[in-house]
Amino acid sequence: MMDRSPKPPEALMRAIAQDLKPVRPSPQPLHLALRMVPLALLVSSLILLAIGPRHDAGILGPLLTWGASAAQFVLAIALVWIAAHESIPVGRLPRHIVYSAAVAASLVVVFISLLTFSTNPANEPLLRVPPRINEILRASPWIMGFACGIGSTLAGGILVLFFSWVFRNSLATRPAEAGALYGAGAGLAINAGWRIACPVSTPWHALGAHGAAIIATVILGALIGRFLGNRRLHIGGRRS
C-alpha cells in the first residue's frame, strides 16, 4: 500500500517536476464561449459570402431571415457556454438545464424551418449561379439536399475541431456529453448562416439535409469529446 502521509510520493513528484512550465489559466465559461464568437461567425458566414442571401429574403423579411438566424446563433453560443460549464469540476449545471437547452435548440431549429416554409414555401433551387446549374438542380433536387447536408457538415466539422482544441483541457465528468453540446453549438451556428443562403425551404430539405448536418456535428463532437476524455484520464495511469 502507498504511503498515506501528506507528502507527495516520489514517483508523482518526479512526474510533476518533469513538466513544470508556466501555464495560463483558462477563462471562465462565459468568457470562453464569447471567445468562440468571431470564428463561429466567420465560418458560419462563409456560405453566405460565397453565394449571397437567398432570393426570397425580401418576402421572408429581415426578422425571419436575419433575426431567426441571430437567435439560433445566440443559442449555439449558449450551448458552448453550457459545455464549458460541464468541463469544470465545480461548475456543472443541473441536469434539467442541460437537457432543456438541448431540447430548446432542437425545437428552435424545427420551429424556424417550419415558419420559413409557411411564410414562403420555396422549393426552387434558385441560386446566384449560372442558369444551367439552376436547371440541373431543379431537375434533381436531391443534389441540393446532398450539397447542403455535406457542405454544412464540413463547415460544422471545422468548427467542432476548433472547439475541441479550445476544450482540450476539459475536465468534464461526461466528456462525450460535453463534446455533444459544443458539437450541437457548432452545428447550430453553421445552420444559422446556411439557412440564410439556402434557397430551399421545404421541411424535408431544411430538416432532412440541414438537420442531418447538425446531428452529424453532435455525433462528431461527442466522439471527439470521448476520445479526448479517455486520453486525458488514461485509465490505470499508463501515461504517468
Partner: protein, 184 residues
C-alpha cells in the same frame, strides 16, 4: 472567502507559474481529505490510493484549466470525483473497486451523529445510506462544502444538494436510534 481558501488560491497561482513547492503544499493540505473522499466513493477499496495519485497527476496535466475565480478545494474534490467516475467506467478497474474488503471505508464520523453511536456503527450506517445521500452528507458535514459548491460538483441544484444531505442525516439518525433501541 476564508483564509484557507485564499491561501490555496495563492498556492495554485504560484503552481500555475511553475512552482514545485506550491504543488507540494497543495498536496499536503488537500491529499488527506481527498483520499478519504475517494475511499468513500470507492467503498473502502484500496484503489483509493491509486486514484489519489491519479487525481493529483490529472490536476497537474490540467492545471491550466483552473481559473483563480474558483475555490481550490471543491475544484480538486470535483476532479477526484471525475477521476473516480472515469476509472469506474473502465471494466477492469470497476472490478478492482468492487474487490471485497473487510474494513469499512475510512470516512469520518460526523460530529452531529457522534453521540448517537460508536464510530463503527456510524460508519456502517453511512455505508448503508443511498450513495447520493451519503456523498452529499459527507461533502457538507465533513468536508465543509457549501450546497452551491456541492451542486457544482454533482451537477444538481443547490436545493437538491441540501435535500440529499438533510435526508441522509435524517436517515442516519433513524438508523442509529434503532441501533440504540436494539441495544437497550
Amino acid at each position: 472567502m476564508s483564509e484557507g481558501d485564499q491561501e490555496l488560491r495563492a498556492l495554485m497561482i504560484r503552481y500555475q507559474d511553475g512552482s514545485l513547492e506550491a504543488f507540494q503544499e497543495i498536496y499536503t493540505q488537500l491529499a488527506p481529505g481527498v483520499r478519504r473522499y475517494l475511499s468513500h466513493l470507492a467503498g473502502g477499496s484500496a484503489i483509493a490510493d491509486d486514484l489519489l495519485q491519479e487525481t493529483f497527476l490529472q490536476m497537474h496535466r490540467s492545471r491550466a484549466a483552473y481559473n483563480p475565480k474558483y475555490a481550490v478545494r471543491p475544484w480538486v474534490f470535483g476532479l477526484a470525483r471525475n477521476v473516480f467516475l472515469m476509472n469506474r467506467r473502465a471494466a477492469r478497474q470497476w472490478a478492482k473497486v468492487h474487490e471485497s474488503r473487510e474494513d469499512l471505508p475510512e470516512f469520518p464520523v460526523l460530529p452531529e451523529a457522534d453521540r448517537l453511536g460508536s464510530q463503527g456503527e456510524i460508519r456502517r450506517c453511512i455505508a448503508d445510506l443511498p450513495p447520493e445521500q451519503a456523498e452529499a452528507l459527507l461533502l457538507h458535514h465533513e468536508w465543509g462544502f457549501s450546497f452551491e459548491e456541492i451542486a457544482g460538483m454533482l451537477g444538481i441544484r443547490a436545493a437538491a444538494a441540501r435535500a440529499r444531505a438533510s435526508r441522509g442525516m435524517a436517515d442516519l439518525r433513524v438508523a442509529l436510534n434503532s441501533l440504540q433501541k436494539a441495544r437497550t
